[in-house]
Symmetry: D2
Subunit: 350 residues, 4 copies
């Protein structure tokens, strides 16, 4: 009954197989391995972006921070949602990698930036000339931290707003696969065709051990990205083991199949949670995450029965009146079964 | 015939087995996995350092840069050998992580800092009060970039020199296992007993896929290290896969066995190279690397026959008179066999 | 009719005299001038803080940024008011000097942080352990950017809130003199006795050419501050000219006299503005600044007649209906006379 | 008898007059003062560079650090002389402002980089692709820290070497006036015509209170420089007082007249020192500084008699055998008279 995060789940067996296969004989290091050549070709192909620069790193924070640093100056503002991962969960990695850029927080329901709020935030920034930080770039997260998904049209609207001011756009796609499955969009539609300049294409949360691709649709930025990656300590010498994971991910669209299974479990879970007395959804469950509000007593029962998930936001307490609503986050992953969902549901029923 | 670097070699099969074993079910993320608890215990035990803080990262540059940043201030000088990895091969990662510390280069034969040169460099630094960068820390590399090994006594002398000025000491042990095998020292003798405060304990070059431990003998620095690691993007969510590699490394002293094999191949190779006409050793071959000087014609033959190794230093050319000496670096790894050594030797004979 | 900012006004004649007096013969450089010794003594005396470290820099942004950097780590949050100078007017100097700390914005009426909002912001920060930026420090501005003044009791409440979490407190006192005059507090009451650890003690806006003192009540931080000042390029070789300005400022409490005159003009101006048809004060005029809301037509008249002041906030326009209220900022300085006030008032009357 | 540094001397009386004149009435702040317009015009005119961007800052370290940061990336090497001010006397300001660039030290007699040594250092840098810091820029100092002067031809040779690799060139001209006087070159010949891209044009050491101009011959870099200046806290609100000093400096070529007087005193001093028993010049005295080597006993006499100057380099001691040579640095300034020179000379004679 592990619903704490998709990063508590194991890797898909095919990933292990790919590592074993890659582990034969000598191979050039630092990204010059032939497996990486294939990864690059496949990602370009899958994104219909034959010129895109493609790099692998091992963590999502790294993919985000390097992407932001490559597209901004230290004296700029990066516009992001108030509850975005870059703002809340990376211990300031974006500030570190950019050399001190400012994260300017934009509101919007259910984890999605409101385009008008974004426009206002950008407008308000840098009007004072040299006295202010300048307008830098926009980053949005899809799937959002609230478990919702931006449609292609919504991404386009955010990107259009950024373009009004000449700003580039980054997408934090730690759960990109889940967003693609949820929208039925193609990777190209969801990214460069919608106006995204650089994508953190997540794998770790969706069945890999630890690999994220960065897809840069403007190849002029490639060399700077490579230098920043190396300087950050993120260029792997035995790079083949990153490549092999990512190749397995792409093979036969394993990435989409895993996301489909995770989303299916997420939908099932959120649907079933609504049958509990006093239940409500805090956010629409567009992908693999459910954010139910439940009477406190139910959480106490579930926790006592060993259910693993987080009270969300974290400033709520399990101490207090039984009936008071307390909200939570439950995350499904590629390996969450219908039985797992039933099991966790039963803990709330006591 | 791959002698370009020990990072072109595969991982040991036991490492793959360990990954497969770790890949079962759900597990807490971000270093809270139970495998890490075991790794920590074993490293503390092996180093006879029950209070040491132990962390895992995926690259050697990261281990070094985080270690240096944790023990210095941005306005200090880090004293290192002129040909050290931190100076030459990390694209400025130490400067990035420290916030702009200065690497002050110290000379010394065969990649080892000369204690008198070190003392002079430290003395010369920071005499002008606030006008100068201050004295920060000392970092030495064992095995050195010249393939030589500091004995315990030599490490002690460097550390004693640092202590004269109150400076902490870091050891870049990307090839620590090879140094231990070469000296027959215990890990404790080679590190904290000799005056080392923090160690980059390498695994990647010696049979792992990509894991280095950082062993901090002063646990007061632990929390700052953790924050710097996270902020640098180096805290793995599915941390179990780092832990599993390191546990396999430590199990039955696999790390020492692999280093023993690599060193044996290195010795054999350097011994045999000396039988070639016109051969000389540029540096003593203390561990798994050979630095022969050979008539240029021999290099041309070897390269033509497919031998993989680097001309070293890189500013020499294969174009020129046949007889002129040209130096090179050949690196053996845990899986280099005697047959491999024979094979590469035969390419020089043509 | 210059009411755009107190930094458009000249220096007091006594400051010029002091410079001329200081300009005789040779004098030790870099802060070792005997005038600085006297400045240090006088500031310690005036603040009843015999151990305080005292430094001079030339700009307010520098005083703030160095103060914040000396008391925080790069991976922390600095809590400040949403419209504070450090957030809005320094092009990211705090982020630059701290190495990428995050400015967390706190609301509160009229430019003063609300203690509950501050407590909530601090509580919300760093709960997630290593994943979040940590709690760093609190900075408040007195006089605020809204022209209001924190009373000593209000400063104490902010500082007490910071202390609940063990955080140090900085006061941006670019207009400290005006706050002292407005409250009749002693410098000690307004700072260290109220819980302030470090003060930017402004001079430039109040009759100097360009000098701010930094008063650090915890002398343990002194050496780090000195290194940061030097490394930032802010240690003057011919330091005597900073010292001389500051000495003139302190002599016979010229600083308080100038602030008294500026505050008097500010009060008079805001009082008189209220007699205009349709006028309202956006913020209480506690010191030397008035923030009136006036019918747009009046602004157009005043601007046409040559009045110099800023529409505030800056996203309002002079184009639009005559009667619509538009707000503005008018700043008085040490040399603003009652005639000046009358003159600007008459421009609104047309 | 102050020969410790040219920054222990006062400002020229005309500078004080200019300040007094500038201190009348209100004036736009932050560099929008009309005096700055005149300064800009005059510098462009004097340098025959009508497009040059011209900025004022208050310290030489700032002028250098901002110049270097504007023309390099954090992952590059800045090539400078081993004893340059940026390396030895700025507490790492270049590293701080550039975000961690590496200062690569180049040798050369008497404080001037040897072009071949420079070429070798550049060649040796960045050959390893992404693994190394990249080639950044070249900075040379004129007058050098050894008191010697690069001729125009020598500057051209350094710049040509930089150009072979496409690198921009900075000149640290803290004593630029003294170099111009020593060579009879025009400012244009000494800078952009010789291949210099950006100049720190010093005033503080040569009779101002604290102003340096930065002259950027490539105006495309202007806006980035302005942002970096502001973010560093170096944009003065009451900028008129910087402008006024610089205008006085340029008026009737006061800067050249002061440098001429300083150089004259320096020549006289170094000539006369040679008459002392056992005297030798460590470096040619091209401008306003003398570096004599003298028997230790003479230094003891001079110090006892109150002569103010520095033993140079600073690792020598006044304790030891009388006859042993000890070297020193004596600096003349715009106000050093022949009598001053006689006075200091007489102290050595005892």
């Amino acid at each position: 009954m592990y619903f704490a995060s998709d990063n508590t789940s194991p890797a898909h067996p095919k990933v292990l197989d790919a590592l074993a296969k890659a582990n034969e004989g000598y191979m050039p290091s630092y990204g010059a391995d032939p497996i990486m050549d294939e990864v690059r070709d496949r990602i370009r192909d899958r994104f219909e972006a034959p010129e895109a620069a493609v790099y692998l790193v091992a963590t999502g924070s790294t993919a985000n921070a390097l992407s932001l640093a490559t597209f901004t100056d230290p004296w700029t503002a990066i516009f992001c949602h108030r509850i975005s991962h870059v703002e809340e969960d990376e211990c300031g990695a974006p500030e570190f990698y950019t050399g001190g850029a400012k994260l300017t927080l934009v509101d919007g329901a259910h984890g999605r930036m409101d385009p008008d709020a974004l426009r206002h935030a950008i407008r308000f920034t840098g009007r004072g000339g040299v006295h202010n930080v300048q307008r830098g770039m926009v980053t949005l997260t899809n799937v959002t931290e609230a478990g919702t998904v931006y449609t292609v049209a919504q991404v386009e609207e955010i990107a259009r707003t950024a373009r009004e001011f000449g700003l580039p756009v980054h997408m934090d796609g730690a759960r990109f696969a889940n967003a693609i499955v949820a929208t039925n969009a193609t990777p190209a539609e969801m990214t460069w065709r919608a106006g995204v300049d650089v994508l953190s294409f997540g794998g770790t949360k969706n069945g890999l051990m630890g690999v994220e691709a960065v897809v840069i649709f403007d190849p002029d930025k490639a060399w700077e990205f490579e230098l920043r990656r190396k300087r950050g300590g993120h260029l792997f010498s035995k790079h083949r083991y990153l490549s092999a994971q990512m190749l397995a991910y792409l093979e036969d669209d394993l990435w989409l199949q895993m996301a489909r299974d995770a989303n299916h479990a997420g939908q099932l879970l959120s649907d079933e949670l609504m049958y509990l007395d006093g239940a409500a959804l805090v956010h629409p469950a567009d992908a693999n995450m459910a954010f139910p509000s439940l009477p406190r007593a139910l959480h106490r029962k579930a926790k006592a029965a060993g259910a693993q998930y987080n009270i969300w936001p974290g400033d709520q307490s399990l101490d207090g009146p039984d009936d008071e609503p307390v909200s939570a986050r439950l995350v499904c992953s590629w390996c969450t079964t219908e039985d797992d969902v039933d099991a966790v549901l039963s803990t709330f029923k006591g």
